[in-house]
Amino acid sequence: MKVRFNNVSFAYDEESVVLKNFNLTINDGEMVAILGHNGSGKSTIAKIMMGLLEVEKGEIYLNDKVLNMDTIEECRNHMSIIFQNPDNQFVGVTVKDDIAFGLENKQLPREEILNRIQKYLRLVSMEDFIDHAPEELSGGQKQRVAIAGALAMESELMIFDESTSMLDPKGTKEVNEMIKKIKNENNKTIIVITHNLEEASYADRIVVLNSGEVVTDGTPKEVFKKIEVLEASGLKTMESVSIIHNLKNKEYKNKKEIEEALWELTFNE
């Protein structure tokens, strides 16, 4: 699904303007990472796309159809979002109820709902937990249920809004593996919102956001080369990337010197 923000402005109140004449196009089938520090406006963009916030000015086009009060319900049929807090988006009393929630809203037939619950729980390897309550699951498992719920809607666009930032390393890994799997097996459009460069690096394209503005946009390699831009946007670069940048500034004669420099950079900085 193609998404286009055209001169969008948005503010929660008069003092805090989050977006001002914001423009961004996401192409069909693309996996885009929206990268930015806390408070840079990432979640606001996601909520605008889902029609949870109303813009003051400008338009959002989804597949060239404008998003407004009349089209919102239809548009939501084609988009899913996974939020940050695993507990606050688990609506059902059990895993089964939670996955069914969106499908019940869509008024799918009961049989179809039961089939999809089976199918997508298997896809996220949670089929053994179908009758479990959320209190019996880890954060990573709850997020996988949320992903199964989103996949079960069979929408064209999936948005992950910092869906790993409240998880432990194990949960983070589980969810990231899931996102990669979805990317490889479907032709869905995926938007990964994150402040973590490593998570962004799996995407086809990275859009860096600072104070509601796109500061740079390109392939992971292109973006990571602009270390000054990333640092100015309050982002901490990956270890390996900063080592590369540090090496660039010096002259080395042979492999040994490079190796020595690498050790130094890894431990002294």
């Binding site: 949870l52 939501r76 089964k96």
Partner: protein
């Protein structure tokens, strides 16, 4: 998690588990009402024995239901544990209240001797200090109370007065009657919560509320509210535990201190709870809307309820029991 009543469902395949939640809800409610309708032992033409026979009859029926669920009795007793103190307290109050023909069960003359009182105070202090290590606290406490009373019947020295402790016979009957009655009602409600999934219960409640739709009241919203409450009560409970732990690691003790200190400690718990809950409610609303929820709009029902032969059978039995009580009550 285990000590809150809502998340109590125990998986099983018993006859009771398999009943339609609508049958279970209505039948158990009718039985509870029936238990409350049993005439009190006092002030009735019927006599004390009849009341207790009826109570006994219900006890047998309820015990049978409990056995049919094939759930261990310990689970049932656990749900009674929190209320045990209240039961015993009501029982004692009943014993001490003059009623009916004021026939005395026990008439003790207690001496207020300084030595005796000091011994009792020593016991209480010891009990409080050692309470963490005492098993079956409630029974030990009751035993100590009886011993104290017995001790006071003797003058141990330095007596400065005396008073009469009167226990009434009718109080004993009334107390046992109320005690058993509330016990049976709680057993019945426990049968419901142990054998019915919260979602099924919600579906049943929604079904019974259905007539309200003719008054243009949207019942599906109520059902959603109940189901969200069921979903979030355990989470809130866990969160409270977490905050309590965090506060106590900072030296806040909710059980000690003056009233003023305790109030400020409770506020220090409530404020983070409120902040978290508001954030949660906002997030949840977003998540539900994003997944296409429109309040009051028609939705597919995943839970379907089937009223079968066993439901009809159980319901008829319940009705017979209920009708019997009503007839007895009227006569």
């Amino acid at each position: 998690m285990n000590n809150i009543a809502l998340g109590q469902y125990v998986d099983g395949k018993s006859i009771i588990h398999k009943l339609d939640p609508r049958t279970k809800l209505l039948s158990l409610m009718l039985l509870m009402i029936a238990v409350f309708l049993i005439p009190k032992p006092l002030n009735n033409s019927f006599g004390r024995t009849a009341s207790f026979i009826m109570l006994g009859g219900f006890a047998v029926i309820i015990l049978m239901i409990v056995l049919f669920t094939k759930i261990s009795l310990i689970k049932y007793l656990n749900s009674l544990k929190q209320l045990a103190f209240l039961f015993i307290f009501t029982f004692i109050i009943q014993l001490l209240t003059p009623q009916g023909d004021n026939k005395l069960l026990l008439d003790l003359n207690l001496n207020l001797s300084i030595v005796g009182i000091l011994i009792i105070i020593a016991w209480i202090v010891l009990f409080i200090l050692l309470r963490k290590f005492i098993p079956l606290k409630l029974f030990v406490f009751l035993g100590l109370t009886c011993l104290s009373i017995y001790l006071l019947t003797y003058d141990l020295g330095f007596s400065f007065g005396s008073f009469k402790l009167k226990l009434y016979e009718d109080g004993l009957y009334n107390g046992s009657f109320f005690f058993t009655r509330i016990f049976l009602v709680i057993m019945l409600s426990t049968v419901l919560t142990l054998t019915t999934k919260p979602t099924d219960l919600t579906s049943a409640i929604e079904w019974y509320l259905h007539p309200l739709t003719y008054l243009k009241i949207n019942v599906s919203i109520f059902a959603m509210i109940i189901s969200l409450a069921l979903r979030f009560i355990p989470t809130l409970f866990n969160e409270t535990q977490k905050i309590l732990k965090a506060q106590s690691s900072r030296g806040v003790d909710f059980k000690e201190g003056t009233l003023k200190e305790q109030i400020s400690q409770i506020i220090s718990l409530l404020i983070p709870m409120l902040v978290i809950s508001f954030k949660r409610a906002a997030d949840l609303a977003d998540a539900m809307e994003a997944r296409g929820y429109i309040p009051g709009a028609p939705r597919t029902k995943l839970n379907i309820m089937k009223f079968g032969l066993s439901d009809l059978f159980s319901f008829i039995i319940t009705l017979i029991i209920f009708a019997t009580i009503i007839i007895i009550k009227v006569i």
